[in-house]
Amino acid sequence: MADAIVCESVSKRFTLRESRTLKRRLVARAHGREANRSFLALDTVTFTVEQGESIGLMGLNGSGKSTLLKLISGVMRPDSGDVLTRGAIAGLIEVTAGFHPQLSGRENIYLNAAILGMSETEINRKFDEIVDFSGIEKFLDAPVGNYSSGMYARLGFSVAVSAESDIFIIDEVLAVGDPPFKKKCIRRIKEIRDQGRTIVFVSHNTTQVQRICNRALVLEQGVLTFDGTVKDAIHKLRYDDEDDVDAEGGEL
């Protein structure tokens, strides 16, 4: 099979606290300090995803999962290394990304679908399906700013799954949905998987990852430390260790 995502020693560095003001810069220089401290959010991450694979991306908070998804989706660029992808990418990287709080749900559906590259006729055709999936018909004309976070997620997810992408990425958006909606989403993601599309799925929920993914990557403080089966990944992260939920102190 062909490669869908190729990451070749990808690194991303963030500035921790930026001193952008002239005064601070001068003070920092006078004290012989560097004005901006930085840290590596991703450290030479290398992996390849084949077309049709569904990858679970796991790791503790702040380990760099969302950053990696942003690089894959092209929202951010790596500082060094190469990220290459094949075909269109859709999905959700942040629950509220792409929504304008002052616009109604309806207007936001059009805007988001257009951002995902759909044409006007395509959106018109899929509109009912999107609304139907989201289950928020009643609030369609209310400004999105008044939505609950679950409703945000519903709307975002519904638009994202309606796009015809080759790669589908999801970052923890299911965390805020209620159980019936989650179930619906999982079913939809499985459909996407069974269509042979590539999936990158970020979740702390081991059951979800097990049900959707056939391979898992584990990030620890920006370093890719594991690439293999989901079961082993969960074991490595000690997420299966009930007594030791507080596993940060361990081997991680």
Binding site: G74, V83, Q102, L111, I115, S119
Partner: protein, 295 residues
Amino acid sequence: MSTVGTRADEQSLPPLQPPGDSTGLFGVFRRRYLLKLLVQKELRVRYQASFLGLLWSYIKPLIRFLTYLIVIGYVIGLKDLEGYPYHIFSGMIIVTAFSETLRAGTRSVTKNKSLVRKMNVPREMFPMASVLVTAYHVVPQFVVLLIAVWLAGWHPDGPALVAGVLSVAILVTFSLAVALAFSAFNVYYRDSENFTETIAHLVTWSTPMIYTFEMIADRTNGNWIEQVYLLNPVAIAVMLSQRCFWVPTLEDPATGVQPDNLQLRGVLMLVACLAFVWLAQRIFSRLESGFAEHL
């Protein structure tokens, strides 16, 4: 899977390439539908909780025009200038349009944070949308101006029409260039907003709108100050607009004092502005790679 199979597979597939849309301004034109939605969104949001709504884009220039008319005309005494309301109005349209694009364009990326963080949008969309929003506000003002000069016996000659076209072209390209560059700077340094206010102020006073070019020419006699004055694209656009709307209303058009070879200057300025757009696009795409993490 055999090698042959892989090759056949890969041929029918889209290429492996860096993600994200870096097609720049050309990408914006290819995604016109999204651009249209963004412009609609902008207009919608701006006037959402407003009682007078779009009427404001008539009320504000009208009030400004009347102030200039009274203060400049009667208090300061410019009313002796033939057709001076048209002189003011034709300049004011250009200056207002530029200032509005400058202000809205500078904020266009930072204000659309949540959209910028979403994937696959050529981010030039946002400054471009502010240029179009301004156009939406300015076109009706041009209509009003046209009606006014028509009533005053406007008979444009060929050079007047050329000047009009050049004026709008310079206005659009220069505004776009400035909006592109400033929207990108503003992501990194929020000083840009103070900067734009300062520029808007300078532009109001460094263009012959509330005074005449004749006054500048009288005091400078073509020295280097006048040459510098004429390097300002907005000043050139204002004078071209006056050549188009004000000069043809005069009893004897020759009495309208303007720089020599105004249209030629206009053409050169337009070329310079196109170069600015190119440069601004370069700056934008250079800075764009850091947008997501700085917003």
